[in-house]
Every structure is written in structure tokens, then in C-alpha cells.
Amino acid sequence: MKLPNVLLLAVGTALFILPVSLGLLGTWLPALGYLPGMSDGLSSQPLLAVLAHPSTWTSVKLSVSSALFVTVCSLVFSQWLCMNLYHRRIWPLLKHSIAPLLAIPHLAFAIGLVFLISPSGWLMRLLSPGITGFDIPPDWLIVNDNYALSLSIGLFLKETPFLLLMSLAAMSRFDHGKTLQIAATLKYSHRQAWRKLIFPQMYAQLRLPLFAVLSYSLSVVDVSTVLGPNTPATFAVLIHQWFNHTDISYRLLGAVGASMLLLIVVGLIAVFYAAELVVKKTTQNWLVAGPKISPKSSGFEVVLAKLSLTIMIAVTLLCIAALAVWSFSRLWRFPDALPTLWSVEYWQKSWQQLLEPLQNTAIIGVSSALIAVFICVLVLEWQSKRSQLPRGGWWIWVIYLPILVPQVSFLFGIQVLMVRFHLEGTLASVIWVHILFVFPYAYLTLAQVYLQFDARYLQQGAILCQSKWRAFVYIKIPMLFKPLAFSGAIAFAVSVAQYLPTLYVGAGRVNTVTLESVVLAGGSDSRISAVFALWQFILPLVVYIAALVIPQFVYRNRRGL
């Protein structure tokens, strides 16, 4: 192995592989019955207890089915949107709506969705009593349904923008424009070209983001408590309940469950690989059969795609609107369409209470985003100098590791380790654990643009500036400032939304807006829940806007860039 590879491996190991593996180990040992201070010998008791627990299997089934639903549907839907809307007039809307849609934290979105669609939600209020005739809300099971449908739909609505973003990034990785042009001259219809030529190239790039979606949907706790079923809950929530059970011996069950969840993720990833192989085999003939003369497709599908995109954006906007209305209400009874009394007192109160959490969130978010982007630049600079470096091989798996392994599977172990070395409960350690989750997203949004940077600018600059270093600072960084800022904004948004890592590593002492939101979302006051959910959204939004505006402002004299 060459030196850079060794160094890269060392960096990767220190940053990602080591903490994750130590965390996993710290979870597996208790799963085998070893947790010093509680039970010392190895035993199969915890495993048997989990297998015998009445909720386990239903819970696992719910988690698997909803995760598969979310992964498959968001993949199909995002590709379908791309295919039908590519280079149509609505395309810029799709491109520009992605960032704000991503900025909404999952939890805030989930709370908003409940305010919108539950039987006493805003939609029902707008329709009642006029259309529905209800003067009390109907007893309909909409959210928290036993098939985890509302959870799946909520996650689907949040994961689609992520896959769209990843699709756009993937498309810039191969010459999709040329491909489509050539296909057109060969009489491929747009749809055929997309399905036979674009998608196979796209999927190779989307595989890992897709697995990230899969792992996330399997292991999400906060959204699942709000939207998911509870008789029983999804497996991740059940595990979380075990870890927090009043009977301390349930910690061991939690550890077993967390380890099982990891196996499930690995198993499902294997299933996806197998499915990919099967699809490849069975479609081989069709793929190379060339263009088929098909009746010109009606515009119906395109209209449907436009409509779906609009609905997706509209539902999200309505969720935010529902939160906003609740946050300014004082009295809002069913079936009033709007509050009868308005008030700003909850915003005012939250401000005093949020001073410290806001500060923490900002410090943690900004530092972890800056550090993550900085490491990204180091790594990418290295990669760009060595074209022989693996681009899609083991390296990318290392980066993805923290977001592929379910958080509950290793956070307990990390917590035990942190406590042992007296590192928990400080800002620094929370920032560190955030970098773990933030870095992959920062890298993914930045890598493509960065690696495609035309080195000739730099060579030219180096000649003119007489220094490679100055050329880097004065030419490359300014030219890449926009993507750098965007990647920082994504990193910041990811950091703001972290719940479990902040809770486990911060020992509850490092309070953030998200921790407050989760605590108060479980509280009784809709008005306060709404205010905190919105705070959770405002921070990343401000940073996104800054990431858009600042480059324009700073480089207003360099329009040519």
C-alpha cells in the first residue's frame, strides 16, 4: 500500500472506524450479559429474554416493513420525478426546493404533520363543521396507526428531498446531457433513455445514500415516537424503552436489541444487493434491446409528476404553517379554523428559556460544521492530487460508516466509554460526536464539485502568484466558496437535528434546542411544542440562507466566477 493510502486509512480509522467499533463493542458485551457493576459473567439470558418478549417480533416486522416502504418509495418517487421533470420549466423549482425541504428537521416536520392531519388537526378544523358536520373530532386512527403507515409516509416525505439532492449530485458525476442527446439521436424516447441509460448509472451512485435512508428509517426514535405505533412501538423505540426502563436489568435487553438492529440493517443491505443482481440479470436483454418505437407518451405522467412535487412542497409548507399558527395562538378550540385568541407570549417565554440551548446549538453546529468542512477539504485536496485513489471503494464505506450503522447500536457503548474516561457532558465531546455524523453529509455534498475542479486554474494561479499555497487560498477556495458554504450549511442542519448522540454524550447537561423540543413535544402544551419545533427549524434555515447570500455578497465583484 502506498503512503497516502496508509495515511488515509489512519485518518479514517481514528475518525470513524475506531469510535464506531468501540461503541459497538461496548454494546455487544452487555448484550452477551457482561456489564460491570450489574452482571459480570457472559450469559445468553438477555438474548433469550428479547426473543421471548411479546413485543419483539411485531415490533421488528413493523420496523422492517416501514423502512423498506420508505427506502423503496423514496427511491422510486425521486427517480420518477427526475425522469419526468428533467429540463422542464418546473425543474428549477425542484432544484431550489430541495435545500429548504432538507432544512426542516425531521422532528419539527413530524410535529407539524400531527398538527395538520390528526382528527383534531388543522385540515379537519378547516373542513368542520361546514363540510364534515363534525363539531367534535371523529375517533379516527390516522397518526400512530398500527401499520406504521403515518410514520412511513412522514419519513418518505422527508427522505425524498435527500435522495433528490443525491440524485442531482450523482447526475453531475456522469455526462447525463450528452447521454440523453445521443439517446435521442438513436430514437430512444426520453423515458426509455432515462430508464435504460441514466438510471443504471445513477443507481451506482445512489446505493450508499439509499442504505443511509434504510438505516435511518430503521433506527429513528424521535419521529417514531411522534408518528409511529405504540402497541407495540417500532423496534428502535422499543430498544430505547429498554435502555431507559425503570428496571435496570432491561439495559441488557436494550443492548441485545441494538445489536439485533445492526444485524437487520446488514441483512437488508444484503437483500438490496441481491435484488440489484436479480434486476440486472432479468433486465439484461431489455437494457440492450435498443430503442423501442412506442406511442408518444401522453403528457399525463408529467402533469402527475408536477402535481406530486407541488403536493409534496405544499404539505411541507402547511406543516410549517400549522406550527406557526399554533405558536402564535392562545386559544384554539376544535372546530375553529383559526385561533380565537392570539398571543406572542410563548415566543417571549421561550426566548428566555432558550438562551442557553440556542447558544449551545449554535456553538456545536458551527464548530462541527466548520471542522467537518475543513477535514473534507483536507481529504479532498489529497484525493484530487492522486487520481489513482479509490473514489467509490472502501474509502466511501468508511465515510458512510457512522450513518450506516444505526445510532442506537453503538451510542450506548460510546456512552459507557465516555463515562469511563470522564469525557461526557462537555461541549467538546458533543462536538466530537456530532462531527462523526455531520462529516459524511458534508463530504457527500462537497466531494463531486471539489474533485471536478479544473486543476488548470490552479496551475495558472500558481504561476501568477508564485506560490501554490497562495493560489489555493486566492483562487481555489473563492471559486469553490459556494459549494463549501452549502456543504457547511447541510452539516450545520444535520448537527442541529441530532437527538440521541447529544443526549447520550452530553449526559443531558449540554442542552440543545432539539433536546428541548423532544422534551416539550411530549408535554401537554401544543403552543409551546410548536414554538420549540419552529426554533429547531429557524436555525438551519438562517444558516442555509446565509450560505446562499454570503457568497454572493462577498464575491459581488467577481461575477465571472
Binding site: 413485543s55 373530532p137 405504540n230 439495559r251 385568541l341
Partner: protein, 414 residues
Amino acid sequence: MLRTAHPVKSITQLHTLLALTLTLFSGSLYAGQDKNLASDWQKTLEEARGQTVYFNAWGGSQTINAYIQWAAAEVKKQYQVEVKQVKITDTGDVVSRILAEKSANRLQGGSVDLVWVNGENFKAMKDNGLLAKPFTHKLPNYALVDTENKPSTRYDFTTPVDNLEAPWGMAQLVFMYDTKRLKVPPTDMLSLLATLQQNKGRFSYPALPNFYGTSFVKQALLELIDDPTLLNKPVIEADFVRVSAPLWAYLDALHPLLWRKGASFPKSAEQMKQLLNDSELFISLTFNPNDASNAIANDELPATVRTYVHKNGSLGNTHFVAIPFNANAAAGAQVFANFLMSTQAKLRKATRAIWGDPTVLSMDKLSVEQRAAFASLERGVATLTTAQLGKVLLEPHSSWVSALEKEWIKRYAN
């Protein structure tokens, strides 16, 4: 491991014995002890000065958070002790963290200095040696606590408190209902069934293992069991299947009449309050008799909401604050715990607009002015009088909780 049973009868015996001993020795012994206590307390106060106490307390209620903020400001002013509330969603989290610290062999400098706790969590901490040495008897204000007439201040869900946690407030299971939707409230579990037949889907209880859910099921068991005295003993001494059969028969009949036909349950009592406000539910439950009045004042519930209790009594318990074995600021935590039991703090806590939590103090042990201040506290529009609140039923032996929970999950959450 099972703990020894402490049936009500033996509590009363113990109490009589204690009272006797106290009367016999009160003269000579007390003077010397007082002096010792006083000088010890001075030492604690000095040690506490400048310490930062991390108070881990459930943070889901703005009202309670605001009260804790006020108390923190007071101890800062009076004793130069800094108190920071660590807002948690689940006390189990905290127990878990302290356990993690214990398994990492961290015997001092722990992350938790004081924790708001009771029942199962207290028992878990006690059984696993996660608590500091007994301390409440050294706190001057502990003498004001009504340990005689409020046995739940000494037996936390039947686990002996042994001075390991300081009583902070009283709780009693109370139902809230909206008089606009429901004219006549139920009077017991059976009439609840009848009421729901007329109002299908308008009541529920949180899914177990939620504390309120467990409490509702315990209340039902207390009302339906043939021989309630069995509940004072460990569950292992009873024939659980036979004894609990009426309960499951009742729940089987109740669930189809519940909100969402029992296919889904509310997450918490807090969510039920929201649902009551939205008229999704007509009946909800709470452990704070003043809850409804506060919520009305706050526009969190309609002004038509009132409260009721079941005629043969309702579950009651005490909530406490405890210090972990490895607390970093144990002295500061003691000072804060002592302040929380002071008449100043208690009076404010019992004030309706502030929190409205029933006091643990004994009126007989207060000065005339203090007693008058408590007596003049305004009672909320939906708050029952002490007489209306009726009989307080003691919590069953804590081993029943896990048996009930397991069976409930087996039947309704699989």
C-alpha cells in the same frame, strides 16, 4: 431480589412505636441532638457555597420548569449555591446514566447531583446501590414534613424511604372531564364502562410502561380485586393469574370502548390533556389535583373542565428528590433539597398560579402565620377540596408493577 413486605398494618404499628419512643425521649435527647445537627448543617452550608448542583428533573412542563428556575435563583441568593436543571424526558435515562457511571467505577464526580424521583426508579436506585447515604434526617426542614399522616413520605410505593430521598410533593390520581361533553362523571371503574358505552372512544390511558398508564391499571386492580390486602405483599405470594383475572376481563371489555378502540394509546398523560383540550377525549387523568385549574387559567383546557375521583378512593403517592452515590456537589444538593421543603418554597409551590402541587408539610408543625398563609391559598375552580378528594389508596407493592406491565404488554402490545 424481593424486598420484605410492609403491609399497611405494620406501617401503623411502626408509626405508633416511633411516636411512643419520641414522646419518651424527647426531653433530654433532643437538645443534644439538635445542637449536633445544627453544627453539622452549618458545615454542609459552608461546603455547599459556590457549588453547582445539576438537578435532573422531568422538563415537560413549562410551569414546573419556571418554578425550578425560581427556586434556583432563591438558593443562589440565600446560600450561594448554583442550581442547573437538566431537563429530562424520562427519569429512567438518569438512572441509566448513573448506572453507567457506576459500572465505569466512577465513585465521585458524577454527572447527577440531585434527581427528581419516586416509585420504581427509586427502588431501582436503592436496589443497585446508586444512592448516597441517608441524609434527609439532617435537613432542618425535614422536621416539618407530615411523616405521621402521610405514610407515602416514608414508604415510596411500599419501598422504605430510609431517609434516602427528601419528600417534595404529594400526588393523587384524579380524573378530569369536560362538563360540556359529559354531564355526569363516572364514580368507579364499572360506571366508567357504562359512561363510555354512551360516549364511545372518548377516554383512554397511556400505553404501559408509561407511569400514568400503569397507575390507571393499578387503580382498576385495586377496585376490582377480591382481596385488596394481597396487593400489599410481593406479587409472588399471590396467585397472580387468578387474582388479576377480573382486571383483564375488565380491560378486555373496556378497550373496544376506548379512544381509537384501544388499537393505539396516547403516549402520555400530557398528550391526553392536549386531546381533552381538542375534545378528542372527554375524560383524562392526572396526578396533580390542581392540574385542571392551572390548565384552565392558562387556556390550556376549556373552562368547562372539572375533576372527580372514584368513590372508594384513589391512588396516592409522594414524589421525592434523591442524591446519587457519586454526586459531585452533595452538600449543595442537600441545601437545595432542604430549601425545596421550606415553607417559603412549599407555599409558592402550592400556589395555584405557580404550580399548585399539594404540600408534604404538616400544618400542625408550622407557625400560626404560616398555617394561615397556606389556609388562604385560593383553590382553583376545578380543584376538589381535601374532603372531596376522599380516601387515598396506597400504591401496591412495587413488584406488582412489573407483573402487571408484562401481562399488559403480552395481551395488548404484541
